[in-house]
Subunit: 559 residues, 2 copies
């Protein structure tokens, strides 16, 4: 049997290595159009930024290793330019010699990845506009950033600072790669402007959570231009680049990074006549087999089933790509492995913070018309507040109203983020409920957590909500509620809420007579904790009451 | 209804606060013999060390808060000195006035905690010997550490360095508190000797994993005296303390910290005539109710069911104590809450590293005669190796041979420990298997993890083992195996294994003829990864082979 694998990075490389471990006899040909196999594309922004200084660090496994250790006929600088699925052949072009050969396969694995989107806008091919996909991209960016720019051209004040390194960067697109590039360019000392067509950064997050990230970016001197699309590029008067937006603005830039998303590479799949899904990715079954039983596909080029919603989705992440490659190898070796779907667990470092998420967002639930869910917001210390270095975690947590199942979470903060998002990712995988989270036994010592971990609190608050102990309200869905603010007077000066009646929590029991018994009272404080105590006191004293989740902190983000 | 809660720290305080949130009418009397309620006893070592400078930081909730906000009749410096369970009364002694009053209860909650063990050895009451339980203990230690010692007494070289602060500390007992005290005393600049009766530190760990901790302690200049018990104390010639051991040694000490474990406080329970369990703790059912239906008990004083083994155990941890307090409150308020048992998830900071564990150890499995388990060792980067700051994680992982269920894990390292131990803690709670871990979707970006997380690798290696793809061997159970070392020759110089035959992995396929076909080959490398590849090559070429888990790294720890 001969297997041809198209693409030698995450999914393809995993597939090749695993397949050889399962079978010493199968003939494996792995084709990579670039000069490197199995390189760390996730590391490219950090190579541009300089925290990964050596290009060689990015080479996880070499062509030599694949050839020698894995007995894979590994061909770099080689591209499959055509597939004939009837004859079961591919046309292979050697980019060094220009030669095209025809290779037969018994099974074909497509792992071509997804290409950065570069819309055909005016000026898109001007020098200085980069995408982030290959080691060559990173190398070119580094060279571009290291060059001297003659600032005297078209500059009335000549002689002053006539030559300098690039100073202004514009990053277009505020997703994972966009934010990683923002960080890395800023850490190289550039002034960075981030332009994003949506009215929020980090599209997988819900908007109010993205706001936390936006505030953080501004605090780190990033210029944010949200809600404005890219119109094109031109050379400005001084010879530098200018980024033009749909709103008619022009942003000067010494370097531009395009990070507006990726698109599955499906040309070969289309040539092979295999099915493309509704989202534009290659359609595969749980065995990673396409509509042609002899062609499998893995990685960013395929559509996956969203593990939580059951919907088809494009979720280009390295972890899933690697697992899919492994499963494709198992299937090729005659095993029964199945891909369980992708739940979209992700994390992104931005300066000192981490933006993380797992499972479904409220945005997606709304899009699907799913109303069987509830949400809560939490502000928690990353570890015991009395131990130095505790940082605030901002958490949004989604769960099924009908059965308490964990649906998704978004966790932001400068400390302790992976601990929580991974616990929640595990909870989603195992179908755990909020009642399980109440009882989860997570590691605790003052430098790492709290005796009741934020994950426990999520479970407790959600369970309290579901069993009626703590009805929850949200700013965006308040009705005719009586608004009760239980903060202390000095806090009101920081953020006052129009129309809210203030009774500080410690005075509440003594002042119950001031509150209406015929209206539902929506209680809030800074974060939702004191208002929880207040809600309980009100309910137990016969009032109708709800706690506004996340308090004024979330209000300020939702505006 | 009137509830008396004995003990106002973790379990008791949680119970009181929750009970008030569930019922505004119940009369709650919470009695604490010390001057503070709800203080952070987990923070005491750090207060001694100075990283938590202010005592007030340790006060999580004050007496005032319990009285005002929670309407709890909170009495500090008050001790329940007798229980009459027939009459349902307690004798309450006010330590300030000396007065003793009798209080009636409808329900009694015992949360007295566990007391540090202080064996009645000669000299145990000499000044300078401390335990770590209360804020007063920490205060006394700080004062003792701040005092000047006259070094001229009994010193032939007078005048030289006549007066100094304490310099030599002896910590007795190498568990959680012992190690935290070691760290904190060392960080105050003291030379620290750790004496432990067992032949390993951190008794919950398996010995080979404890060895990693021991090496780390020595690297940080801690003097370790393992396998030697405490015999007593005396004043030495120069007036300072000396710690005497069973082996007849004498260790001079300017301060001694006793941390040889804790013992459940069961005096009141015995007075009340309620059942004490086989481990010496108060016996409770899942509702935290003792053998007397009107007496509940929570926290370090009770025996819990080990969630994994189903055995009764003493597991004094803050997280479980808090959850038990909450459950007792639920039960008192007529709710159906149940305690699911304790799985022993724990973490301990020691200098820059973390020692963590969840579920069962091999030690415990052996003690129970349980043979339906397997183990693997792993050495993994805490995050992508190409991103700066990756540290080695040392992992031991235990799982059921018959069904793949996760049983326990021990994870040590300087980075990324909570992320892994909490994922595994969640896996144990939900009854997940190694096959689930293969597919877990944990957060990944180069600064935080790897596309295949160590948790995924644990699952993959274990699954490979269970399905026969990768038979595993261990150094401690090798039989008549042919030992094959697939490291490269320069590595053999670092640690050579007598009797092992060396074929570097890249040469293996070409040199198969050198290997025996009639004997099982046990393959090893440094960590177990290259030997995995080698094992697969051997098996697929018709040899009998096993991979020695953890390679020479684990061998050096098991010696």
């Amino acid at each position: 049997m001969k297997v041809i694998i198209v693409g030698g990075v995450a999914g393809g490389a995993s597939c090749a290595a695993r397949l050889r471990r399962l079978d010493e006899k199968i003939q494996i040909l792995m084709v990579e159009r670039g000069p490197f196999v199995s390189y760390a594309n996730c590391g490219l922004p950090y190579h541009v930024g300089g925290s990964i200084e050596n290009e060689s660090s990015l080479l996880v496994a070499t062509e030599q290793m694949f050839k020698g250790l894995f007995m894979v006929d590994c061909r770099t600088n080689c591209e499959v330019i055509a597939v004939n699925s009837k004859k079961k052949t591919v046309d292979l072009k050697n980019h060094i010699t220009g030669e095209v050969t025809i290779e037969k396969y018994d099974k074909l694995v497509l792992s071509p990845g997804a290409a950065p989107i570069r819309p055909p806008l005016p000026g898109i091919d001007l020098p200085g506009i980069f995408s982030v996909r290959t080691i060559a991209d990173a190398k070119n960016m580094r060279a571009w950033l290291d060059r001297d720019i003659d600032r005297s051209v078209g500059n009335s004040i000549t002689g002053v600072d006539a030559v300098s390194k690039p100073r202004h960067a514009v990053v277009i697109g505020g997703g994972f790669i966009g934010l990683e590039m923002v960080e890395n360019l800023a850490e190289r000392g550039l002034e960075v402007t981030l332009i994003e067509k949506l009215t929020q950064v980090m599209p997988p997050l819900d908007p109010e959570m993205a706001r936390v990230v936006e505030i953080y970016l501004k605090k780190h001197n990033i210029k944010l231009e949200l809600g404005d699309g890219l119109a094109g590029f031109r050379n400005g008067a001084n010879g530098g680049l200018e980024v033009l937006t749909e709103k008619g603005k022009a942003y000067p830039a010494d370097i531009v990074v395009m990070a507006i998303g990726v698109k599955p590479e499906t040309e070969l799949a289309k040539m092979a006549g295999i099915e493309i899904g509704e989202k534009g990715g290659i359609r595969v079954n749980k065995q990673m087999i396409t509509s042609d039983p002899d062609i499998l596909a893995v990685g960013d080029a395929v559509e996956v089933k969203d593990f939580v919603t059951g919907q088809w989705a494009l979720i280009p992440l390295a972890g899933p790509a690697n697992r899919q490659g492994r499963i494709a190898a198992d299937v090729l070796a005659g095993r029964k492995s199945k891909y369980r779907g992708t739940q979209g667990t992700s994390i992104c470092k931005i300066f000192g913070a981490a933006i993380s998420q797992t499972g479904v967002s409220e945005k997606t639930l709304k899009k699907l018309g799913d109303k069987d869910y509830e949400k809560i917001y939490m502000l928690s210390n990353s570890h015991a507040g009395y131990y130095p270095g505790a940082k605030m975690l901002v958490i949004k947590f989604l769960f099924r109203k009908s059965n308490g199942k964990v649906l998704g979470a978004q966790v932001l903060g400068e400390d302790g983020v992976p601990k929580r998002i991974d616990s929640l990712a595990m909870a989603i995988q195992s179908g755990s409920t909020v009642y399980d989270l109440e009882e989860s036994e997570l590691c605790y010592a003052p430098p790492f957590g709290s005796a009741k971990d934020p994950v426990n609190f999520m479970g407790m608050i959600a369970a309290n909500m579901l069993n009626g102990d703590e009805p929850i309200a949200h700013w965006d869905s308040l009705g005719d509620n009586f608004l009760l603010d239980v903060r202390n007077p000095p806090e009101l000066a920081v953020e006052s809420v129009p129309g809210a009646y203030n009774i500080p929590l410690p005075q509440l029991r003594a002042r119950l007579s001031e509150l209406p018994r015929d209206r539902e009272i929506a209680v809030f404080c800074r974060s939702g904790q004191r208002s929880y105590y207040a809600t309980r006191i009100l309910l137990l004293n016969g009032f109708k009451a709800r706690n506004i989740s996340g308090g004024v902190t979330i209000r300020s983000l939702s505006k």
